[in-house]
């Protein structure tokens, strides 16, 4: 509570339906703060619950050069440029993502215990004799965590080859028993349906079926992936039967369950009326549910639950997987013990480009190569909008604001543009919220110099430089701000003074009865909404027309207006 860092948040106008730019574009003197209040019943309230969603630090914002507007993470569209593995930095084509999923399919794994990267090492006996150190180590191999010393040997998994671990791992269960891959299952399923003359199992045919197929057990315990694969295959075959292909090759016209029309029919189930009813009636009774493990049915047996409980009892806390460990696993629902955990294949990361939602222009585009961190396009707000920094004018030991004691703050506007900008700032006379502190901007209108070369400034004549410093006039030690004057000015920055008279946090200052109550969280922070309007003359954007006319420089007037919130300090609770 003792320390408070002043902050500045910028409001993205995307949450506002009618933009403040248009409304305040006219020549309204922003100095008259009382007028602001009267005319403007829509003063931005940083304490409104919705304000949280539109306020961002300047660094989080982008700027669209075509719309001339601030863009926040909510009003941009993200597009994935590349997928890559953060461990091996291998770029994964998007086609592979669709078929293989969003994990690295090479040999990159994280430790299931401590998430450190795993390395492949050989556990075979090292060769002995002359020149033994030159011989490549031979298998079997294990995944090994150098940090917590976990090894895949502990879950009974070893590998024959040191590469392609993902493929090898997907074939073994914990303990070393092989997993029947979906491909093998499909083959088996096809074989079965070929053997039996009946294409899909009839009601009474379960026992016979079970005898016919040696490969798969009807009461097999499936893991989540194969159960899903079985169910999917089963329902697909059901769908295919329910809507047999028509002569044209379409499945049953528009009425099949697999058709896109099915969704709209479901959506209209309650509102649509007759059409849906008629169709669904004609379809009743044609589908059945999965009946055995081959079709993806898993009976929930209570003994396994009891087994789990006894296991938890016997093995204790040490061998129980923690929530954090289970969170990283792909199918955590069936895992309880540390022995059930599997190495975590690295989740792929993406590089994204951002587009403006309104004009679809690209605002940010990283280099597609994984190794480079450069951007091709990056229109970030800090290079278009003056940054605002806050600092108390008189440095005091006490970080808290004393009620009713006028405190002055220095706002420094720094111009990133290569043109001079005219800045007008306006604040409401009192801060919004229950506790109204009085706010006065001493110099609401000023001009900030262009962001020219830093050396140019240094090489200029000393006299000119001195003139810029109005502060020098103030006598030493006596810090006194003068209304209507800039406090201090530099090459591309200007400091102005804002005076705040904090209110008391005692309930008796509150006028309305219903407002009374204890101070809520962060209500003691003085947050000042500031409306900033920036005007500058930029070189013409429509380059073609300018060149066509043969004119050299056409200056275009620009303006940008937005709300900011300045958090200046906490009020002392006396």
């Amino acid at each position: 509570m003792a320390s408070f860092t002043p902050y500045t948040y910028f409001q993205c106008p995307c949450t506002d339906t009618n933009l403040p730019t248009r409304r305040l574009g006219e020549s309204r003197p922003p100095s008259s703060s009382s007028e602001t209040e009267q005319e403007d019943d829509r003063t931005f309230d940083p304490r409104a619950p919705r304000a949280n969603f539109s306020l961002y630090p300047l660094e989080h914002l982008l700027y669209c050069e075509d719309c001339h507007q601030i863009r926040c993470p909510r009003c941009v569209l993200d597009e994935i440029v590349t997928w890559y593995c953060p461990n091996c930095l291998f770029e994964v084509p998007s086609g592979v993502i669709k078929s293989e999923g969003n994990r690295c399919t090479r040999s990159c794994f994280q430790c299931p215990i401590c998430i450190a990267p795993l390395s492949v090492s050989s556990i075979g006996a090292p060769p002995e004799g002359l020149g033994a150190e030159y011989v490549q180590p031979s298998g079997p191999y294990v995944l090994n965590c150098a940090y917590c010393m976990w090894s895949s040997k502990e879950i009974g998994i070893q590998f024959e080859k040191p590469n392609g671990i993902y493929a090898q791992l997907s074939k073994v269960k914990n303990g070393g028993t092989p997993i029947i891959t979906p491909k093998e299952r499909r083959k088996d399923r096809e074989e079965r349906s070929r053997d039996s003359s009946v294409p899909v199992v009839m009601e009474e045919g379960i026992s016979e079926e079970g005898e016919e197929f040696v490969n798969l057990d009807v009461h097999e315990e499936l893991d989540a992936e194969s159960q899903f694969a079985n169910l999917k295959a089963f329902y697909q075959s059901q769908l295919a039967e329910a809507s047999p292909a028509s002569a044209l090759g379409f499945t049953g016209g528009d009425y099949g369950y697999g058709s896109p029309g099915a969704l709209s029919r479901i959506m209209g189930l309650y509102t649509g009326g007759n059409f849906a009813d008629k169709r669904s009636k004609s379809k009743t009774g044609t589908m059945r549910e999965a009946q055995d493990a081959l079709e993806g049915l898993q009976l929930c047996n209570t003994t396994s639950d009891e087994e789990t409980i006894t296991r938890l009892r016997n093995e204790g806390y040490e061998n129980t997987a923690s929530v954090a460990q289970l969170k990283e696993q792909t199918h955590p629902a069936h895992k309880h013990s540390v022995d059930d955990l599997r190495p975590i294949a690295y989740l792929l990361r993406t590089k994204r480009s951002q587009r403006c939602k309104t004009c679809r222009h690209i605002l940010s585009k990283p280099e597609s190569k994984v190794q480079t961190t450069r951007f091709r396009i990056r229109l970030v707000a800090p290079s278009y909008i003056p940054s605002i920094s806050i600092r108390p004018l008189a440095s005091s030991q006490n970080h808290l604001l004393t009620p009713f004691k006028p405190t002055q703050f220095l706002l420094t506007f720094k111009n990133p543009l290569f043109d001079r900008v005219k800045v007008s700032i306006a604040t409401p006379g009192t801060t919004p919220g229950r506790f109204e502190s009085r706010v006065t901007v001493l110099c609401p209108q000023f001009e900030v110099g262009a962001n020219t070369d830093a050396w140019e400034e240094a090489l200029r004549e000393g006299a000119e430089r001195e003139k810029r410093r109005t502060k020098a006039e103030a006598s030493e030690g006596q810090l006194q701000a003068e209304a209507g004057k800039v406090w201090e000015r530099g090459r591309n920055w200007v400091s102005v003074v804002v005076e705040v008279v904090p209110t008391s946090l005692k309930a008796d200052v509150l006028m309305k009865e219903e407002d009374r109550g204890p101070v809520r969280e962060d209500e003691d922070v003085v947050e000042i909404p500031v409306f900033v309007r920036v005007e500058w003359e930029a070189e013409g954007q429509g380059d073609d027309t300018v060149v066509g006319r043969g004119e050299k420089e056409v200056k275009e007037k620009r303006e940008l207006a937005y709300w900011c919130v300045l958090g200046v300090g906490r009020i002392a609770q006396v």
């Binding site: 401590c114 090292p126 294990v142 090994n144 940090y147 010393m149 090894s151 502990e154 040490e318």
Partner: protein
């Protein structure tokens, strides 16, 4: 080097030592104290290692590696007779840079990693791994094969590769023998 201030104080008395002939001990290692310091065969002591036997004796087994800026030995008066018996590092113990060991016993094959602290009178079992910057309290007993990692997380290592690790340490000592110029005579 000439500008270096030379202390007028007489050098502290050398502690009594029993050093194995195959010991690798750097010249800049510091052995202080009054109790016996026994260092085993094929053990490597890096420069700037501190072995303090002021309060109790220190016994280091063979094939150990004690890295620079680590401190071995009690730093305060022992509180009971068990602690007074002295500090024992068994064979193939690796103490990494900046670690502080005040334990009563550290078992064979244990690695104490960078900046870890082992409290006074603690007993660390065999083949343990004490992760970087982890701390073990005074008088604590760590069972064999414990791995301490992260923010005080513990597990029992069941990978069964301890023999290979011992071989690795032996190989590492052989490399250090070439790298560290040993000056056994200084400490005898």
């Amino acid at each position: 080097m000439s500008s270096k201030r030379v202390s007028n104080m007489p050098p502290p008395p050398k502690p009594p030592t029993t050093l194995a002939s195959t010991l690798i001990i750097a010249e800049h290692a510091s052995l202080t104290g009054t109790h016996l310091i026994a260092l085993g065969a094929n053990t490597a002591i890096h420069p700037r290692t501190k072995l303090i036997s002021t309060f109790a004796s220190i016994t280091v087994g063979s094939n150990c590696i004690i890295s620079e800026r680590s401190i071995i030995g009690l730093q305060s008066e022992p509180e009971n007779d068990v602690e007074r018996e002295g500090l024992v590092l068994e064979d193939s113990v690796v103490v990494e840079t900046g670690a502080v060991v005040e334990a009563r016993l550290v078992g064979t094959g244990t690695t104490i990693e960078v900046g870890a602290r082992i409290g006074k009178g603690a007993v660390v079992g065999k083949h343990c791994k004490i992760g970087p910057l982890s701390e073990i309290g005074e008088g604590e007993e760590i069972p064999d094969f414990t791995v301490i990692f992260g923010n005080g997380m513990r597990r029992i290592d069941r990978s069964g590769v301890e023999n290979q690790k011992l071989k690795t340490i032996a190989r590492q000592v052989e490399v250090l023998r070439k790298l560290i110029p040993s000056n056994l005579a200084k400490f005898q």
